[in-house]
């Protein structure tokens, strides 16, 4: 049996096991697990077929990054659907920090300005921005819905709407940074992050792989913090009504 076939079979078996386990535990997640896995397989197959072309033609590379941002924004936006303008919030909070960071890294020459170097870096930063946006947005929607008594208490004591929301946004931002902080702290000890693994598997020296990985991880710290802050700011604006009042989202998802 070829190694390729073994890889496909092994990963399929793991997904099926996860779906079965979720079904047994009545988590209502089986379908999501399977469709997410299928989507990933399809998307990676398509990207695998196209990426060689994308690496050669810069216009396609730009289109590719645009698709990354759009997909990440749709995904993160759907997690805070209860808020008005959730999609616009997600686009702003993801694209601005992630693309600015890519620009800076290219400008100072940390990476070669080639599609081959830019696309994976942009992908990681956009993915991180998406995670921070999703976590911040979801937590805020939950707290806005479940914390109406606390918000009303602060407003009734004379807070401006922005000040009444500030404790919620601070909690949401701090919470959104936890996964990356843990990943950064444990890098090399518990996890060998994706960039490192990819580069080593691709034949780069471990030293190069570690250096690139560190650059990405530390860039992510700022990108994700900015995404979380932007999400919090945009949600605060969306939830603030004239007359120092706060709009409660219709229902948390």
């Amino acid at each position: 049996m070829s190694q390729a076939l073994t890889q496909v079979l092994a990963s399929a078996a793991f997904v099926l096991a996860a779906a079965w386990l979720a079904h047994r535990q009545r988590l209502g997640l089986s379908r999501s697990l399977l469709t997410a896995a299928l989507r990933a397989a399809l998307q990676l197959a398509i990207v695998g077929a196209l990426i060689a072309l994308v690496f050669e033609v810069p216009v396609l590379a730009i289109a590719f990054v645009a698709i990354m941002v759009a997909t990440a924004s749709l995904t993160a936006g759907s997690r805070m659907r209860a808020l008005p303008g959730s999609r616009r919030i997600a686009i702003g909070a993801i694209a601005l920090p992630a693309l600015s960071a890519v620009g800076v890294l290219l400008l100072v020459g940390a990476f070669d300005a080639t599609p081959r170097a830019t696309i994976p870096t942009a992908g990681i930063l956009i993915g991180g921005a998406m995670l921070a946006t999703t976590l911040t947005g979801r937590r805020l929607v939950e707290d806005l819905t479940g914390g109406t008594d606390e918000i009303e208490t602060r407003l009734a004591l004379g807070d401006r709407a922005r000040d009444a929301l500030a404790p919620l946004t601070r909690r949401a931002i701090a919470g959104a940074m936890v996964p990356l902080l843990d990943q950064t702290r444990s890098a090399g000890l518990v996890t060998l992050p994706g960039t490192f693994v990819g580069l080593v598997l691709g034949g780069a020296s471990p030293e190069t792989a570690a250096r690139v990985q560190l650059t990405v991880l530390l860039t992510l710290l700022l990108v994700q913090l900015l995404s979380a802050l932007l999400t919090a700011e945009l949600v605060t604006r969306a939830a603030t009504l004239p007359g120092e009042r706060v709009a409660v989202p219709a229902a948390a998802r």
């Binding site: 009303e152 208490t153 004591l157």
Partner: protein, 227 residues
Amino acid sequence: MSEPRADRIDGLAVRSLAVGHGERTVLRDVAFDARKGTVTALVGPSGAGKSTLLRCLNRLLLPQAGTVLLDGADTAELEPTALRRRIGLVGQVPVMLPGSVRENLAYGLEPAAVDDRSLAQALRAAGLDAAFLDRSAAELSGGERARVALARALTRAPELLLLDEPTAALDAAAAHHIGTTLTTLAREGLGVVLATHDLAFAANVADRVVALRDGSAIVGAPQELLA
């Protein structure tokens, strides 16, 4: 039984008010006065619009129509945060903010304007002694929380105080105690407006009753409406 039309009331004058949620109107053409130094009780079954009406008085909600005047000035024209310091609200669920009782009482106040003496005075007015200042707010019992929430509203030196179901979480003795506290505060010049489904409590403390029923309000003396 109709209220006087003179709008220069020392306190709140509610005129032709309609309140509701979104498109739905719960109460229409509500008119009553809540003068400083008196206790006004909004009574009615749950869902009658008591809480909604109460929140329109300090503009946490906006009325669909009509006006609320404070000392003759349209509350829609006043700066909302200043208005809410003049008209305090104690919600049905006494939410304790993180930290000590002292931090709760001083919340949102200018640090320079805060001293233990004034905080202790607010605590005493709400029926707690000064020793509570250093307690963690999270550790208080339900009745103590209700009193700290009341004291916290009082530290803003409000002219009027709105209370949503002040006896909901309390036993009979504690309810009696809070009633005495509120009538004492009213005698000292505070305007008290409380929403309650407890008619006996309303009869005991209120100078004036606004009965909410079937989307409208009837105003009268307790002995007329609660007999």
